[in-house]
Symmetry: C2
Subunit: 636 residues, 2 copies
């Protein structure tokens, strides 16, 4: 159970837990034991064994079933599955990754890309009778999945696919489970029928026998030591004309008949490809959530330490000063706590949207696409936050922070790859921006040159922002924010929302202009590349805005008045921090006067100062049980 | 020898090597072999043994002697000692730290705080006949050395000091060498004579017998696993009334006579304390240098990879695009390369100043103090740069960057503590700012209230900047920079220098005002704490300015015209990056118009774009031999 020394903290925990409070509370008690913790003293081979043992224990709990449909033996709770698994991040990130590979990626591929004929696999993979891996990335291609080189050529004579790695760069690489434990791989490969390529599809390929030896034609190898995640057996796979039955194609969106006829309900190959990948959105949702959880754990350690540790005497009092009483220490940690609250609300919102779609309550392609955009952006934002926050926490704990016994270096090392896997952050933020620009282009596609100019002049209007999915509260605030921002009170949510929304609109609009103007001169790639920094900034601005919206909506759910008051002030701190980080932009683009920009800085200082007395409550509110922190400095 | 494919690259290497080109070239060839490399596959116990073996090999080379005076059997080349050791960072940072503890910290304490009676120790520690450690930090106090709790009470009856750890927080902590190898510790403790404390002094305390067992009264323990540096045996020491001979006080600045009479040539206890610590400046100089070296190694790996690795097809050409042809990738890496050049020149300048003072050619206390300020600031700046740059390099190499075989994660983990040890960066930057404010206070101490107001109005004047140590070239540029900055061409060094200097002046001046104004209301601590973020910013601005000065001076030494041209453009990139990072400040304080701020961003984009074709030359210029990179991704 979550540790809380006050009702206020309990109310904050419940708010951040959101609709999954019960699942989180159950996980806090189930996972608190030593048996699910990581053991950094183990070498990587022993760590892998330990994690596999923990997985077997997990398989007996109800964590796993949630992720699967009832007709497959699951309990059909995709949101609960993501949230429950996320809690593993407090215990050990290797365990979280390994569980995610088995039940999220491998299991998710079978569940979502497979059909009735693959159904037996689901039982086996849930119970760990079948250990699998997810073989998408290759040495030569990670972000550009469409260009994977592995081939799966259909041989109608034997009704088999021949899976093959034609070049060294076609080698499957970094694949969790491929080094030791996986017996089967979900392999993404170019499907070739009758000599013609049909694009990337997913195949189930047995890779090891029961004794763990590579099957004929399969050569696995070990990625060996990594920056962290010692309990995950990342490896490589080469295929030398490996034959698998025709039925091993996961054929939900496309199939090959015994005679070699290719068919698909989705005519457009590009749409088919993106539909296939889209079913895997749960992985991105999960990575962002786990990264944010790791950041909460690190902040819980560093902030609690800063409430115990003194250094230097205050000459005015003659007593040593607590670290958290220093202005800089407040400024280092409290804005990160605020962002953690913001992202927690945003993650709950994201999981809710995913749950709705994946529970079959919504199947609008536009909603699926919006979900993918949001998942991509929040994955990037949350993993970036984790990298920054954990680093700051490590440094804020000084030499103690560097000792493994205080956990921060393990959290840092384990999460370091989160900015890379399940989509490189730069590529993901580009995807977000591209979606924004597409939405924009649809609005203005019909305009002629003069229309563009006129359109560009209407900077304050609200053409870009998606209209779907905006809920009433936010809409009301937006409508109220109609006055010019300079006049608005910076502590009003309307003004805050308008500032972030205006920034997003402006960046998207001007990026679109720039792309269009340059594309005619230089070709689309040069135009894109020339504006890449601008485009990424637009993506980031979008995420800042939707995170604030989620925070505002989350506030509504807090009925405890003290908790609400603290969460409101922390929301201000989140906004002020975002404004401070981008104040050059706001001034340069005349969205903020110099005086207001100075007020923002003062505002951050005032907020950290007034929140300082409530630091413990705020940290407890993050919801990481003290028993799961496992930092020696907090026990001495 | 340094790898260079062109004369231009060779000229850049020579420029960055500075006056120590020969020493660096020698080290590049001596240290390139496998025997000095780290082996990440070893567990920490084996890694410690390996590093100790490497130390024994190093002890036979001339690396060690340079750091000691000729009368002590050294070759008396303090600058060469720092630079030669720095090159170890390319081989293995554990080795660098372990060597630094033995010959820099422990040896340096004996050499600089000891006298003739400690001379025999020098021979023994140089040859590794005596392994030592440097026991300053305690569990309770790291940054606040004056409040160390360990005591050394003089017992005139036996002519011994009794070294004691009176509380758990008095335990010596994180001490390199204390876990296994050290036989003797240079212990910083409160000297107590006749019941009266004389402040912190340094004592040589034997801690282990020849077999490695703790001596009576000494309890050592092991810090165990850390974030990195597995080859360094960090440990803890508790003293239980351990008796050492009177002569084991390192008595250069103070002594205790057999009868217990305390004497010192330095009357003021505070000055005595700071003089003692001041002799240890070489440690800070060294840490900054090694951090910058590690950043150069990481950038060499990431940039070379970005010149081999492609991802995504350019639709205009149909070919896959090299990572370094992406605008964002250029923006991620090239400004860090520019900053590495800038810091390399600044480090050479710093080492030169240290060399001059420590070779006895200068002994002005003001110069010593200026050296300490500069060493503190550049330590903070370079370790911060290393942390950011290596993280960026890791991410810029994607999944490959996370594999230990590609070295980046090891560089990150090993350097992570550099922002903490030899002075926490926040505390160091405060020290810099405090020195700046002290200089300022001396200038204006005599002014009355009206004088302050008038003084504050002369914002463009140049009161603050230290006048000593400014060399002719910079003075000339400063004199030329008299026009208002808005009119100046941003590509002119005069204008660049003036912008950075104006920022520093303004920040220091306003910080002084603010402190003075508030101190009367709230007491000095509250006043300081309230302005802490402002004060730290002033320190950072100072460092930005002196780094630019060092770069400008370094440029003068490049005679090869192509190398000079590239280094000049890279200097622009350094300046533009600093301006871009701080453009909110420049605009808000009216040192820059919005138009100019926009030009700065365009300038960064133009510079990275024009430098892109020269990327390999620039990276070779960093001077890390390809043979020392040891990244598998570069060999495939």
């Amino acid at each position: 159970m979550a540790t809380a020394s006050s009702d206020t903290a309990k109310a904050l925990i419940a708010a951040l837990d959101g609709p999954w409070h019960d699942i989180r509370e159950e996980a806090r008690s189930l996972l608190a034991g030593e048996q699910f913790a990581g053991d950094p003293a183990l070498d990587y081979r022993a760590a892998r064994e330990r994690v596999l043992g923990q997985m077997r224990e997990l398989a007996t709990l109800d964590f796993v079933q949630r992720g699967y449909r009832t007709e497959h033996g699951g309990t059909g709770d995709p949101g609960g599955a993501v949230v429950g698994m996320e809690m593993l991040a407090y215990a050990d990130l290797s365990l979280w990754v390994k569980a995610g590979v088995q039940w999220g990626l491998f299991g998710g591929a079978v569940e979502n890309l497979g059909t009735e004929r693959h159904r037996d696999y689901i039982d086996r993979l849930m119970s760990l009778d079948l250990l699998g891996c997810f073989a998408m990335t290759e040495t030569g291609h990670g972000s550009d999945v469409a260009r994977l080189e592995t081939t799966a050529a259909y041989d109608a004579a034997t009704q088999e696919f021949v899976v093959h790695s034609p070049t060294p760069s076609a080698r499957k690489d970094y694949i969790g489970g491929a080094a030791e434990h996986a017996r089967m791989a979900a392999v993404f490969a170019q499907l070739v029928v009758g000599g013609e390529s049909q694009g990337v599809h997913c195949f189930l390929v047995p890779i090891r026998d029961a004794a763990g030896a590579d099957l004929p034609g399969v050569t696995t190898s070990d990625c060996g030591l990594k920056g962290g995640l010692p309990g995950v057996d990342n490896g490589r796979i080469m295929f030398d004309h490996v034959r698998i039955p025709r039925e091993n194609l996961l054929n939900r969106y496309a199939d090959v008949a015994p005679d070699g006829t290719y068919s698909s309900d989705i005519d457009n190959p590009s749409r088919r490809f993106f539909t296939t990948l889209g079913t895997l959105v749960r992985g991105r949702v999960s990575v962002g959530g786990a990264a944010a959880a790791a950041a909460r754990a690190a902040l819980s350690i560093a902030a609690r330490y800063a409430l115990r540790r003194t250094q230097f005497v205050n000459p005015d009092t003659g007593e040593e000063t607590l670290l958290l009483d220093y202005r800089m220490h407040q400024r280092r940690l409290l804005p990160l706590v605020a962002r953690s609250y913001a992202l927690a609300f945003a993650q709950n919102d994201l999981v809710g949207r995913m749950h709705k779609i994946q529970s079959g309550h919504a199947s609008d392609p536009a909603e699926q696409r919006a979900l993918e955009k949001r998942a991509a952006g929040l994955k990037a934002a949350q993993t970036r936050h984790a990298t920054r926050a954990i680093q700051e926490c490590r440094e804020a704990c000084g030499g103690a922070g560097y000792l493994t016994e205080n956990r921060l270096v393990t959290l840092k090392a384990d999460t370091d790859v989160f900015t890379t896997f399940e989509g490189d952050n730069v590529v993901l933020m580009q995807l977000v921006a591209k979606e924004l620009l597409t939405g924009y282009a649809e609005e203005v596609r019909e305009l002629d040159a003069l229309g563009w100019v006129r359109f560009a002049a209407t900077l304050a209007s609200d053409v870009v922002r998606e209209r779907s999915g905006v809920r009433q509260l936010i809409q009301t605030l937006r409508d109220r924010g109609g006055e010019t921002v300079e006049e608005g009170d910076l502590s009003r949510r309307e003004t805050q929302l308008k500032l972030l929304a205006d920034r997003e609109d402006y960046l998207v609009r001007t990026a679109a202009h720039r792309l269009r103007a340059r594309a005619e001169e230089t070709g689309p790639f040069e135009a894109f590349n020339n504006a890449q920094d601008h485009i990424l900034e637009a993506g980031a601005a979008h995420i800042d805005r939707i995170v604030l919206e989620a925070y505002i909506e989350g506030l509504e759910g807090i009925s405890d008045p003290e908790a609400r008051d603290l969460a409101e002030r922390l929301c201000d701190l989140y906004v002020y921090t975002v404004l401070e980080e981008n104040r050059d932009w706001f001034i340069m683009h005349r969205f903020m006067s110099v005086e207001r920009a100075k007020a923002v800085r003062r505002g951050v200082n005032e907020l950290v100062s007034t929140l300082r007395p409530h630091a413990l409550t705020l940290v407890e509110g993050l919801g990481v049980p003290e028993s799961m922190l496992r930092a020696e400095i907090l026990t001495q």
